[in-house]
């Protein structure tokens, strides 16, 4: 992450709103600068971190755009791996041995017969090393001496500029006390990251779909506008970028501001996430279920459409996102949610059962792997239906239960008149 002094000069104030000046990712001279920095980094592989920093200072020279240069370099440095030089003895031991003789001098005199060279030589002998080795290893545990082992991602100039812009936006959030976001897809990733960064949220469904989510931390309600969670909020930002249509409003108080400012971002900005969205399927089991459904029930062979994770069950301060939702082709309100409980760690399962109980949700169908050490009792208090399976869920049995549930929850299905369009026409989605 960028340090405060690399962010502050790029903040722009206008009334009560705050923005940060990003760089033009298509700018030819900036692209060239980015390329040159990447080249320097690559030349430094195997060398000390100190050397990389010296090379940067030399490259920077007297350029006035050094705030940008240092920002780009910081992005590169953070993504790179520097590791300590391997030494047969801890450097601290070498120091202890040698410093017991200090101060030593280059030339001997009457009172100082031991020269530096001689002390070094004798210590080297004791450790079974050469004098030069001892000399190099003496401070090998300083970060400045760490060796650049890996440059991280395969940087392109465009990717570096894009990432720098993202880091600038994150930088603003260091000073955030509270953020409100709106999002309308990819919830699974969103919740996962909110949890990961130990933020607290409060979500409310929005009219017309999606959710409005307030984010802060546990102590926030008691300590007004604490900046304690700013770093977590900054870390979280790329997760929001995984959503399709989103917006963010942050309450921020950067050091040079005299009052609280507002910072706004939405999906129309050019920022891109470097976080990974979860794959289409969390497990083989889910993938198999989806493909079997497609084979046997897809293409309008039934009246159900299988969709993935577009609904969130809000359970107080936690959420549940069922794996699949079956939506009736003729009536979008008829929905059955399906959650596959496969091969999981017992603790995960306990939490899952708690969630299901809390959901108390009549249109949730659980498909539970029999091999798991749980019985129907575990789900007793839940309103949900449970089907146990051995190797994989039996689709026929699942669909029968779904029909049964739909009838119970939504009442009998009203047969509408056939639509004019032929049934084989592709669905508009």
């Amino acid at each position: 992450m960028l340090t405060s002094e690399l962010i502050r000069p790029r903040l722009r104030f206008a009334g009560s709103t705050l923005s940060i000046e990003m760089v033009d990712e298509q700018d030819a001279s900036l692209l060239q600068t980015a390329q040159e920095l990447i080249d320097i980094l690559q030349q430094q592989v195997g060398h000390a971190r100190e050397a990389w920093e010296e090379a940067l200072a030399a490259y920077e020279g007297a350029r006035v755009d050094y705030i940008v240069l240092r920002g780009l370099a910081k992005v590169l440095t953070d993504a790179a791996t520097f590791t300590p030089l391997e030494t047969p003895f801890p450097p601290a031991r070498l120091r202890e041995q040698l410093f017991a003789h200090g101060p030593v001098f280059r030339d001997s005199d009457l009172f100082h017969p031991q020269t530096r060279q001689k002390v070094l030589h004798e210590a080297a002998g004791e450790f079974g090393l050469s004098s030069e080795q001892v000399d190099t290893m003496l401070f090998a545990d300083r970060h400045a001496s760490y060796r650049l082992m890996d440059v991280g991602p395969a940087w392109t100039p465009a990717a570096l500029l894009a990432r720098y812009n993202l880091e600038l936006a994150r930088g603003v959030l260091y000073w955030a006390s509270h953020i409100t976001i709106e999002a309308s897809s990819s919830y699974k990733d969103l919740w996962r990251y909110i949890k990961l960064f130990k933020l607290m949220f409060w979500a409310q469904p929005k009219q017309g779909g999606g959710y409005r989510i307030d984010l802060d931390g546990p102590i926030s309600p008691f300590v007004s506008s604490t900046l304690r969670y700013g770093r977590q909020m900054a870390a979280f930002l790329p997760a929001l970028l995984l959503c399709d249509r989103w917006q963010l409003l942050a309450h921020v108080r950067p050091p040079q501001a005299t009052r609280e400012m507002l910072y706004h971002l939405d999906y129309t900005c050019a920022l891109r996430s470097h976080f990974k969205g979860s794959g289409t399927f969390d497990s083989r089991l889910e993938a198999d279920f989806a493909s079997e459904f497609e084979q046997k029930m897809g293409n309008k062979r039934g009246h159900w459409r299988l969709t993935r994770e577009s609904e969130v069950l809000l359970l107080g301060d936690t959420v549940m996102i069922p794996d699949f939702i079956l939506v009736d082709e003729q009536d979008d309100n008829r929905k059955i949610m399906i959650e596959l409980v496969g091969f999981w760690h017992p603790q995960y399962l306990r939490r899952k059962i708690e969630k299901v109980r809390a959901a108390n949700c009549a249109h949730l169908l659980l498909l539970v792997y029999q091999g798991l050490n749980i019985t129907a009792d575990a789900f007793q208090e839940a309103a949900s239906e449970v089907i146990f399976f051995q190797q994989k869920p039996v689709l026929k049995e699942v669909m029968e239960t779904v029909e049964h549930m739909a009838k119970r929850v939504y009442g009998p299905r009203v047969k509408r008149k056939r639509a004019r369009t032929p049934r084989s026409a592709p669905h508009p989605e």
Binding site: P9, A62, R63, V64, D65, Y66, I67, A92, R95, E96, L98, F99, A100, H101, G102, P103, V104, F105, D109, F111, H112, R116, V119, L120, L138, F139, R142, H143, K198, M200, W202, G217, P218, I219, P221, F222, V223, S224, T226, L227, R228, G316, D317
Partner: protein
């Protein structure tokens, strides 16, 4: 309240949260219903215990451990120290003790930790104090002591942290400590520095200071010190409990010249730097803030950038010119066998000296354990020289040092006096020397003249 048989309370990010108690229950303050959960600041833990017991609410908060500490303290306690401890014990192991500087606050704290004999977190304002506490605790208990600050994070049953880092530590591990100890507690009203005490559930609390905050400083609109730590339980105001005289000392300024080549570079850089400052009249226009203005300009104005770079280069020349190292070499030879502290303006120069003369260096990179080792070995005489940049500046006692060599540093008066004080702490009846090495005809001489030390402060 209705059924609380399933209810429990747990610690989350500095708050206490009730579980399986619905929003419709009548839960008394300090709990507040926030986002469908009953929640309050963790410092209420001690006072909530009776209520939790009365309602049979399962207590999942404490993760602290009982310890079996052995005390290896050899100092005899003073009467007032014992009285302070008694008062704190009588107050239910909560509250603050006010003792004048030098009256042995740390000693009282170590006794308190030993009596509680359970996991403890100690919060201090500066890194120097963190190092000092670490060393004292290791010596007192002969166990590994944890430290939690920007440089190192080892959490152990007894852990020392800074007010700056304490919030993160407590937010995550607050329920791992039964005793919360705030050194220099007058920092608690500061903007975020009180948050750690607010977020810790520790039922036992001890605050230490020589200057308890005044009534109007107590509240910052969010918390009061006595609410977070408990009331003042003991005050000892005699300012001169422990007499601390300064030894006689002599300051010797040694002036050196730049080599011809260094001088050529220096003059060229000086012309660029001062030329710009003068042509823009920065000093006249911006007063004390002129340097910040130069920094600001340098991000857009190429000349300002050149001036700033020139300034950096000329400082580098002053800080590491050949003759300074020659003088250092000579002084180290002349004062063979003496305990010597060498102060440098930059970290890079400190490491260069350590490497060349094979003497230990203490910098912000030095971990607590190695730092303690170096200071201990300096005390026993195994190490005769320590080189350091600015990290020894505050609150660290190195009484054995009788010679300080200052190779460079800022012009701040405070720093100067602290450096003097360090080597001049009375220890044996011996005269101390302070050598200040300056480069003739450079901005360094100007700095020294500006640094006027009033006589009475010596």
């Amino acid at each position: 309240m209705s059924d609380t048989s399933q209810a429990s309370v747990f610690f989350q990010g500095g708050t206490l949260v009730l579980q399986h108690l619905s929003a419709s229950e009548q839960v008394p303050p300090p709990f507040k219903l926030i986002k469908a959960r009953w929640r309050c600041e963790a410092y209420h833990y001690g006072s909530l215990l009776p209520w939790l017991r009365e309602h049979g609410i399962r207590n999942d908060i404490p993760r602290w451990r009982h310890l079996s500490l052995a005390l290896y303290e050899t100092r005899e306690p003073h009467d007032y120290q014992l009285a302070a401890l008694d008062a704190w014990n009588q107050g239910g192991k909560r509250g603050s003790i006010i003792l004048p500087t030098g009256a042995g606050k740390t000693f009282v704290a170590i006794q308190a930790i030993s009596q509680v004999n359970a996991s403890t977190v100690v919060i201090v304002p500066t890194l120097a104090l963190l190092h000092q506490w670490y060393a004292r605790l290791v010596n007192a208990f002969h166990i590994d002591i944890g430290v939690y600050y920007s440089g190192e994070k080892h959490i152990l049953p007894i852990t020392v942290t800074t007010y700056h880092s304490a919030g993160d530590l407590i937010s995550e591990y607050g329920n791992s400590f039964q005793l919360l100890l705030c050194d220099e507690l007058h920092h608690l009203p500061a903007k975020t520095w009180g948050e750690a005490a607010l977020m810790a559930p520790a039922p036992f609390r001890l605050g230490l200071t020589a200057t308890y905050p005044e009534e109007q400083e107590q509240t910052n609109g969010r918390w009061r010190v006595d609410e977070l730590l408990g009331p003042i339980v003991y005050t000892q105001r005699i300012e001169s409990l422990v007499g601390k005289q300064l030894a006689e000392y002599r300051t010797q300024r040694i002036r050196v010249d730049l080599t011809a080549e260094e001088r050529r570079h220096y003059d060229a850089d000086y012309a660029i730097y001062m030329g710009f400052v003068r042509s823009r009249q920065l000093r006249q226009r911006y007063g004390a803030g002129w340097h910040r203005e130069l920094m600001r300009l340098s991000a857009s104005d190429p000349q300002a950038r050149q001036a700033l770079l020139a300034r950096q280069r000329l400082l580098d020349i002053i800080w590491s010119c050949e003759e300074k190292f020659a003088v250092l070499d000579a002084l180290l030879r002349e004062h063979d066998g003496e305990r010597i502290l060498v102060f440098t303006a930059s970290n890079a120069v400190a490491y260069r000296i350590a490497h060349q003369w094979l003497v230990p260096v203490i910098s912000f990179e030095t971990g607590v354990a190695e730092r303690k080792h170096i200071l201990d070995a300096f005390q026993t005489g195994d190490y005769r020289v320590i080189v350091t940049s600015r990290v020894l500046n505050e609150g660290v006692d190195v009484p054995e040092a009788k010679i300080a060599i200052v190779l460079g540093g800022g012009s701040s008066q405070r720093e100067y006096i602290q450096r003097l004080g360090r080597i001049l702490r009375k220890h044996e009846q011996r005269e101390a020397f302070l050598f200040e090495v300056l480069v003739r005809k450079t901005i360094e001489e100007g700095k020294v003249q500006r640094r006027h030390v009033p006589r009475e402060q010596r």
